[in-house]
């Protein structure tokens, strides 16, 4: 087995991104398993969710992961032609090409979402992709959508307090 240098430890106080990874049962999850049994060390920033096929991942899941606080979303499937369900990964590729355009249009930086084909034999690729992506997202900084949502809605708070009660005083501008 090749010796790989361990992931360098993160500097204290450094931002640690949270990356949600959707891995397909037949290839990429198996590869992550292989990385584990091969004792390949990779950044502990990914939370892996096993799905039966990358084609099961609805673009809504990716948006939802960001909205719930993920700084990055990684999607792993079988190489083209190798899908256990024949066509699932092609569907993934088509959807995600469009999703990438939408994310860009919505101001989500390049690199926060990544689609990779990783076969069951490529434990090493899991390690490389996870490490690269962690470094990239760390450099981008927190996405922190839950925090931003709260920040956006703060502008309503003062008025809400003022008019929230039955004996609210008249607000000057809205007569």
């Amino acid at each position: 087995m090749t010796k790989h240098p361990a992931q360098p430890p993160a500097a204290p106080g450094q931002f640690e991104p949270r990356i949600v990874a959707f891995f397909c049962n037949w290839c990429t999850y198996t590869a992550a398993d292989l990385a584990g049994v091969s004792r390949l060390k990779y950044a502990p920033n990914v939370r892996v969710i096993r799905v039966m096929c990358s084609g099961r991942v609805d673009p809504q899941f990716v948006l939802e992961a960001f909205a719930k606080g993920a700084d990055g979303v990684l999607l792993g499937g079988c190489h083209p032609g190798d899908c256990h369900y024949a066509e699932g990964n092609y569907k993934t590729l088509r959807r995600m090409r469009m999703l990438e355009r939408m994310l860009k249009a919505m101001g989500v930086e390049d690199g926060r979402f990544r689609l990779e084909w990783i076969s069951g034999a490529e434990g090493d690729k899991v390690r490389a992709v996870v490490n690269e992506m962690t470094a990239r997202v760390r450099a981008l900084g927190p996405l922190d959508l839950p925090g931003r949502f709260q920040e956006w809605d703060k502008e309503m708070e003062e008025l809400e307090k003022r008019v929230g009660t039955a004996d609210a005083p008249e607000v000057a501008h809205a007569r």
Binding site: Q60, M102, M106, F149, L159, E160, A172, R175
Partner: protein, 321 residues
């Protein structure tokens, strides 16, 4: 004789089309007027804010509120109506999900104000004057509402009991909703008062939709002669039917135009645009990224196309930078 139930209509960031839809009830509006007392309807009747403010809390049976929420004044009005009304019905696409006004969530407040008061062709404003929330002139103080940083749906500001979808809701759905409210036969709170299926289910062209669309190109309606019988998607047109709630009886398709999604999604879908991408884009023909990209180039404005009436309800809520 007991008092007739009191009804309020109010508008926020909207075009007036929802008011038009109420007028479109035609003779049926007489039945409504017979059954209820209208206590607020800015487009048609001369009630003031103070008149509504003077009513006891919960004394209005139902408030129909259309339009998205962009200013502090709209927030204040809807909060007041929430207090005064027993039921609040979010009326139309703008109130439900931001509608056309929510497309402004692709821009920052500063970008919008700068364009409108400085850069827009035809603007003559060398002093770069902008509206202020408070200005003093000759000893008098004049105030304006605050222009918020983003467009919100009604339910992002107050609790909403029911939703009437559409741009605007159809007279048939409006009458059904009014009837259900008057009869007290209401579904669970939070229900959208329209059938909970994809539009394709009630589309007359449903049978001409192939199982695999295998699209090689997207076209825009002005670029082709649209076949009046065949599924819009099968003709390469973006038809939002698969990700849009039914209830309009596919009127646009009947008029030979593709659905643009104004009814919003069904209850099983959270994000209409993302779901549309999920369902239709998996069915384009090419398998390699460069060819896929060529097909996608046929949609120059994905956000404006997939979230035309619902950017406030996109899971991301607005453009982030």
């Amino acid at each position: 004789m007991p008092d007739k139930p009191k009804v309020a209509f109010y508008w926020c960031a909207s075009c007036g089309g929802c008011e038009e839809a109420v007028v479109d009830l035609a003779e049926d509006i007489l039945k409504v007027v017979e059954a209820v007392d209208i206590v607020l309807w800015p487009v048609a009747m001369d009630f003031k804010k103070a008149d509504v403010e003077a009513r006891p809390d919960k004394s209005i049976a139902v408030a129909f509120i259309n339009g998205a929420i962009r200013t502090s004044e709209q927030e204040e009005w809807v909060r007041m109506l929430r207090r005064k009304a027993g039921l609040v019905v979010s009326f139309g696409a703008c109130a439900n999900s931001g509608g056309i006004p929510a497309l402004a969530n692709q821009f920052k407040k500063e970008q919008i104000l700068k364009y409108v008061y400085e850069d827009c062709p035809g603007v003559d404003n060398p002093a770069k004057t902008r509206p202020q929330t408070e200005t003093t002139d000759e000893g008098r103080t004049v105030t304006l509402p605050e222009f918020r940083s983003m467009v919100r749906s009604l339910d992002e500001v107050i609790e909403v009991d029911y939703y009437l979808p559409g741009c605007p809701p159809t007279p048939k759905l409006i009458m059904a909703a009014v009837g259900a409210i008057l009869a007290g036969k209401l579904p669970p709170q939070g229900t959208v008062l329209s059938p909970d299926n994809a539009l394709c289910e009630e589309c007359k062209r449903k049978d001409s939709k192939p199982a695999d669309l295998a699209l090689t190109e997207f076209k825009r309606p002005h670029q082709i002669q649209i076949d009046p019988e065949k599924c819009m998607l099968a003709q390469g047109l973006v038809c939002m039917g698969p990700a849009t709630r039914s209830g309009c009886e596919a009127r646009c398709v009947e008029g030979n135009m593709p659905c643009t999604g104004c009814f919003g999604p069904s209850s099983r879908v959270k994000d209409q645009g993302a779901k549309f991408v999920s369902s239709v884009f998996s069915n384009i023909a090419p398998k390699e990224a460069p060819e896929i990209d060529k097909v996608l180039d046929g949609i120059p404005d994905p956000i404006g196309t997939f979230y035309r009436y619902g950017l406030s309800k996109c899971i991301l809520r607005r453009k982030l930078n």
